[in-house]
């Protein structure tokens, strides 16, 4: 069953179209990664799905309920963690949770019990009496998530939950997301990190207000557009990759080349052989290179599709 559905969802601000006919569906219990550059319209889509921004066109449903006509109903079905930390900094962890629990109608024993569950889920126990403003970034995000979960929503929207927090906190937050997913919660996460996108069960890429691709990461990597016929992807590991890169780029038949740490990722015509590459590298004094075929990464997918979309729109 689709927990989140959009059909040609559109938002215009004056003459500017922030979201242009976006359609997708997110199945129950999946982790949907929503990617795209800043200003591409990700937050606008989330706000429309949460019922706090009126769409200009198209429809959106949460668990089958229309977000415009049944706004009050969907409020009980979704949790929303906004882009920046937005809790009451002068209140303690406990007080913030207590406030949101009361806001969703929990009282007395029910409220205390739900608070205890969320504290346990997010491991916030040691910080219960601490003011929210004094928490570090990762703990703030946990608290924000706990607050978004007070009413046990089946759908949780997280707008860039890991922006600006350290790698350990980031990893822990994702563990928490997997935990929630295993409990049946459907997650909708925006992010700029490719490694986070790879962790999602489904991803969508928004570019210039349009959804240019959507699907399971593995399926996207198999797209013909990403794997053009008569071409293959190679990883070349060698010393001085930054010296080798411009040399390789000049070689006929090399369609794209970029650096990943100690190696280069190339998209080359099938006619370009290993010997040819090695000879080219020797000209710039690189004598040892490991060359192996690789599958495209999600970044390759997004880069390829973005430039393609750009060319199409320019035409």
């Amino acid at each position: 069953m689709a927990m989140i559905e959009c059909d040609r969802l559109t938002k215009r601000f004056g003459h500017f179209t922030a979201v242009d006919r976006v359609s997708f569906a997110v199945e129950k219990q999946s982790i949907f990664g929503f990617l795209g550059p800043n200003g591409s319209g990700k937050s606008t889509v989330i706000r429309m799905l949460c019922g706090i921004l009126q769409p200009s066109g198209g429809t959106a449903r949460i668990a089958g309920r229309d977000v415009v006509r049944e706004t009050e109903t969907i409020k009980g079905l979704l949790g929303y963690m906004s882009q920046r930390f937005s809790l009451y900094e002068e209140l303690t962890v406990d007080e913030n949770l207590s406030f949101y629990a009361r806001l969703y109608g929990l009282r007395g024993a029910a409220e205390r019990q739900r608070r205890a569950e969320l504290i346990a889920l997010t491991h916030l126990e040691p910080y219960r009496q601490r003011r929210a403003g004094l928490l570090s970034g990762g703990w703030k995000q946990r608290l924000a998530m706990a607050c978004a979960l007070v009413h046990q929503p089946p759908v949780l929207f997280l707008d860039e939950p890991t922006a600006g927090i350290d790698p350990v906190a980031r990893r822990e937050l994702w563990d928490l997301l997997f935990d929630l997913s295993s409990r049946g919660v459907t997650l909708f996460v925006t992010t700029h990190y490719m490694d986070e996108a790879e962790r999602c069960s489904h991803v969508g890429y928004l570019y210039l207000s349009r959804l240019i691709v959507c699907g399971e990461p593995d399926a996207l990597k198999q797209l013909p557009a990403v794997n053009p016929p008569g071409a293959r992807r190679l990883e070349v590991t060698c010393d001085h990759v930054t010296v080798g890169l411009p040399a390789v780029r000049r070689l006929p038949g090399v369609r794209a080349a970029t650096v990943f740490g100690q190696s280069m990722h190339l998209l080359v015509d099938a006619t370009v052989g290993e010997a040819e590459l090695r000879a080219c590298l020797r000209e710039v004094q690189i004598h040892h290179a490991d060359i192996r075929p690789i599958a495209p990464s999600l970044e390759d997918v997004f880069v390829t599709l973005t430039s393609q979309s750009h060319t199409e729109r320019a035409a």
Partner: protein, 375 residues
């Protein structure tokens, strides 16, 4: 017990607002400190009844009679002699330098003319740069001359009473004490600044921080949010009003002639209107800075046009029109009526009703404009 649908979330907001207000000492301080400062400053400093004004004297006559004239000036308690000068030039220079507000020149033939039954003229120079002190100096000087003349005429004619006598009786503020006039008005402006601004800020801060978005996603009702913001600030402002009334009575010794419940009802209605105004500002202002500017734009006219300092009747048409839509106008009017004149409920009813209507209108307008969605 669960809240009715239209009030959903009210108690949660109430709980959070009270916690926030008492946690955030700076806001609390800035709500209470400026009004207290204002009432103390205005009560003690704003006194247009000038006493012991500096007077320079150029006495060319130097007789017993000329000295008696100077003494008559001093005995009014409006003047005190700060300097005896030796020339007219020095007299004007003393006033020009601001060392005296007025100068008294008694010519050398003063006593001679008096004795000969000729008109004896003295010159009084008054610094007109401050109209209040100038007017008072002028009136006092004329009064002194008039009284002297009447005394002399009575002696010459042998009569013991003046032909026409005015017996004034000042009602409500017999000693004409300035605090009695100013302090009730100050309560109006002092309450206004703190209340409007604090109410506007409490919503705008949520907008700036992004918590308003979280509230919009929740099932919180519009009435729940507005009343949840209104009630705590109503409590705080009423506490403050009580404090200001106590200062009025205790520190400035202004007797409260009317009914104390009427005083509190006026304060309640006024504060309700002010908070509604603050919340209305918050629907428009996107940042705390904008909220501050809007509050100031609305509050400044109340200082000048509400009758707080200048009588409304002297205002030109357009400003008089402005004064009729200011809640402060009616509250200050009520304060003076209840505190000083001991006005009855029937006397106060029109102003109380107008205040109530203003509050309801502002609150309704605010309810219509309060955000349900982000923009």
């Amino acid at each position: 017990m669960s809240a009715p649908r239209w009030l959903r979330g009210f108690r949660a907001i109430l709980f959070k607002e009270f916690l926030t207000i008492f946690r955030d000492r700076t806001t609390l301080f800035f709500m209470f400190f400026p009004p207290l400062l204002q009432i103390i400053a205005f009560g003690f400093a704003l006194d247009n009844d000038v006493k012991h004004m500096a007077l320079a004297v150029y006495d060319e006559d130097r007789t017993e009679e000329s000295r008696a004239l100077v003494a008559a000036f001093v005995n009014t308690r409006t003047f005190r002699v700060v300097r005896e000068v030796a020339s007219v030039a020095e007299l004007t220079a003393t006033i020009r330098r601001g060392q005296a507000y007025a100068g008294l020149q008694i010519p050398p033939d003063f006593t001679r003319n008096r004795r000969a039954g000729r008109p004896a003229a003295v010159q009084v120079l008054v610094d007109g740069s401050n109209s209040t002190t100038a007017l008072q100096a002028l009136n006092t000087a004329l009064g002194v001359a008039f009284q002297k003349s009447v005394g002399i005429l009575l002696a010459e004619t042998g009569r013991t009473t003046v032909p026409v006598e005015v017996r004034p009786q000042v009602l409500f503020n017999p000693e004409l004490r300035a605090p009695n006039f100013f302090v009730p008005g100050v309560i109006g402006t002092a309450l206004q600044i703190a209340t409007v601004f604090a109410a506007a800020m409490s919503v705008v801060r949520e907008r700036e921080r992004g918590t308003l978005e979280n509230l919009l996603v929740s099932p919180l009702s519009r009435a729940g949010l507005m009343l949840g913001k209104l009630v705590p600030y109503l409590c705080i402002s009423l506490t403050m009003a009580t404090g200001l009334f106590l200062i009025l009575r205790g520190v400035f010794q202004v007797p409260i002639a009317g009914a104390v419940p009427a005083l509190f009802l006026a304060a309640l209605l006024y504060i309700f209107a002010l908070i509604s105004l603050g919340l209305l500002i918050s629907t428009k202002a996107q940042t705390q800075n904008a909220a501050l500017q809007m509050s100031m734009t609305i509050m400044l006219p109340s200082i000048f046009f509400s009758g707080f300092i200048f009588p409304r009747e002297t205002l030109p048409g357009i400003f008089y029109a402005i004064s009729t839509v200011l809640p402060a106008t009616y509250f200050i009017e009520l304060m003076r009526a209840i505190v000083l004149r001991g006005a009855t409920w029937a006397d106060n009813a029109p102003a109380l009703l107008i205040l109530a209507a203003m509050g309801l209108a502002l609150f309704t307008l605010c309810a219509l404009r309060f955000p349900r969605k982000v923009t």
